[in-house]
């Protein structure tokens, strides 16, 4: 495992970059979600996530998951993509966490194998947990897959998030790619020079040194960025152009989202 560290991290970087590229393609499609005003998308999908958290009935959460799948299909998002990136990953992580609950939750016993008892309550709680996570992550992924990052930021600003917060989100996103590129280059050059697999301690030292170099370089860049911003007139508050208009369809969409969320929360109470 320790020998693969460098490779897996470099792969991780490449993956992160390609993931972002994916999102641009889907965001350009003319699917249902893409046609809605981004603010409606943000508020609507968040309200569905909230509903999934509020409701207590498995059936309702399953229905919300169905809504997510439907939205995906209508928005030209490949279900295979969702399966690979979201559903299987969540199943793996949350599934593992939820599994013991099936056996140790007190309640009416349904099955018995030796010392292990499966309880009805245990099954329900595990299912509820996994379903909730799947639904929430699916909805959030839909939001991000169908919306260019710039639009997400604009919507957040329109929803009254403080300017500085939005500016920081925007810049951080930018810097992540800069950092990842720089780090990948550093690793690439190290990989080509590496003769064999390094012992753990040496790798740790190298990781710390890499992190340090990255940090210094990026802090320096941030100073320069600040100067560049000032040079172009920045004086403390980022002024932005809002080009978002709500059409009738957007209002209808918003209403539908909110109603669906409220209905789900009410039914599942």
């Amino acid at each position: 495992m320790s020998g693969r560290f460098l490779e897996s991290t470099a792969m991780g970087f490449a993956r992160a970059i390609t993931r972002a590229m994916e999102s641009e393609r889907i965001a350009r499609q003319r699917g249902l979600l893409q046609r809605l005003d981004p603010r409606v998308r943000v508020v609507g999908l968040l309200s569905l996530i909230l509903a999934a958290t509020l409701t207590r009935k498995i059936g309702v959460v399953a229905a919300l998951f169905g809504v997510a799948v439907l939205l995906a299909i209508l928005s030209r998002v490949s279900l295979l993509l969702l399966l690979r990136r979201v559903w299987l990953v969540v199943l793996a992580f949350t599934g593992v966490i939820a599994l013991p609950a099936i056996f140790i939750t007190p309640g009416t016993v349904m099955a018995r194998t030796g010392a292990l008892q499966v309880t009805e309550q245990g099954l329900r709680t595990a299912t509820l947990l996994v379903l909730r996570v799947e639904t929430a992550v699916s909805l959030c992924s839909l939001l991000v897959l169908c919306t260019p990052w710039a639009m997400v930021l604009q919507s957040l600003r329109a929803l009254r998030l403080p300017r500085e917060a939005v500016a920081m989100l925007a810049m951080t996103y930018r810097y992540v790619f800069l950092l990842v590129e720089t780090a990948s280059q550093m690793f690439e050059s190290r990989r080509s020079r590496r003769v064999g697999i390094l012992p753990g301690a040496e790798q740790r030292r190298m990781a710390a040194r890499t992190a340090g170099v990255l940090l210094s370089k990026t802090v320096e860049t941030s100073n320069e960025v600040y100067l560049a911003m000032q040079s172009r007139g920045f004086r403390g508050e980022v002024e932005t152009l809002s080009s978002l208009h709500m059409t009738m369809w957007d209002y209808i969409g918003l209403l539908l989202f909110l109603l669906a969320g409220a209905f789900a929360a009410w039914i599942g109470r």
Binding site: W149, A150, A170, Y173, R174, F177, T221, L227, R235
Partner: protein, 265 residues
């Protein structure tokens, strides 16, 4: 347009400008020539009002560029529009989500009306030939494209003074000549262009006057032809190096300048 009197500046104790004085008139095309570390970039930043001089005065059309003065919006807003700086590293200048947003940043900060911003940005993108890139995030551009976006992001303001920090460094030959062509277009206009560079071969095309800098001071100041002809000066300022080669028993030594593709001896 610019006057500097005995200007000193240092970075946390490391001296960068040591008693520099010079004048630049409107409409001049000047090249700041000097090796790395000679203080060219620092000078450009002081001219753009980004750093305060530790000692001495920096004046723009007679008005001092000091901290207090730049707090005053009635001075700053016109100043930022009239004077523009293009940084050496384009990544530093590309911090908006899309190319369109990047070019729109400056006019928006200067509070131009919305319709004017949109019109001007579209026009600038077209003039620079990058309209196709408008929705692209800046980190997915090539080196040449980034440079063009960086240039567009300041040209959108139609500035009177352009400060260019190593505009052709790290560019491929085609992008380099594109940038040089752009600078040449401004010859004869009222635009003042001050370019910092260490590449001798482009200087003839982009400047009529050369200021040679050495260790934070002006080492020489004169017309392009005159300075480029002074080999001793160039050697001293570390802009060319002595190159030795031998034919049999005889060793030649002459100043040598590297450039892309051709060698000048």
């Amino acid at each position: 347009m610019f006057e500097l009197r005995e200007v000193f500046f240092d970075y946390d104790g490391v001296p960068a400008l040591q008693g520099l004085s010079l004048d630049i008139a409107k409409g001049e095309r000047v090249a700041l020539l000097g090796a790395n570390g000679s203080g060219k970039s620092t000078l450009l930043r002081l001219l753009d009002g980004l750093y305060p001089a530790a000692k001495g005065a920096v004046l723009f059309e007679g008005a001092p560029l000091t901290a207090e003065h730049l707090q005053d919006d009635s001075f700053t807003l016109p100043f930022r529009r009239r004077v523009a700086l293009v940084f050496q590293n384009p990544d530093v200048q590309l911090f908006n989500p899309t190319v369109w947003d990047e070019v729109a940043f400056a006019p928006l900060q200067l509070r131009w009306p919305k319709e004017q911003v949109v019109a001007r940005v579209d026009e600038t993108l077209r003039l620079m030939g990058i309209s196709a890139l408008r929705e692209r995030p800046p980190y997915r551009l090539s080196g040449g494209e980034k440079k063009r976006v960086a240039l567009a992001s300041v040209l959108v303001l139609d500035p009177e003074v352009l400060l260019l920090d190593e505009p052709t460094a790290t560019l491929d030959p085609r992008s380099q000549s594109q940038v040089i062509d752009l600078i040449q277009e401004w010859k004869g206009s009222s635009r003042t262009v001050i370019t910092a560079t260490h590449q001798l071969e482009i200087v003839e095309d982009i400047a009529d006057r050369i200021i040679v800098m050495e260790e934070g001071r002006v080492a020489a100041d004169g017309a392009t032809g005159q300075i480029l002809g002074d080999r001793e000066l160039l050697l001293r300022a570390n802009l060319v190096h002595a190159h030795r080669h031998s034919h049999g028993d005889v060793t030649h030594s002459h100043p040598h300048v590297h450039s892309h593709g051709k060698h000048e001896h």
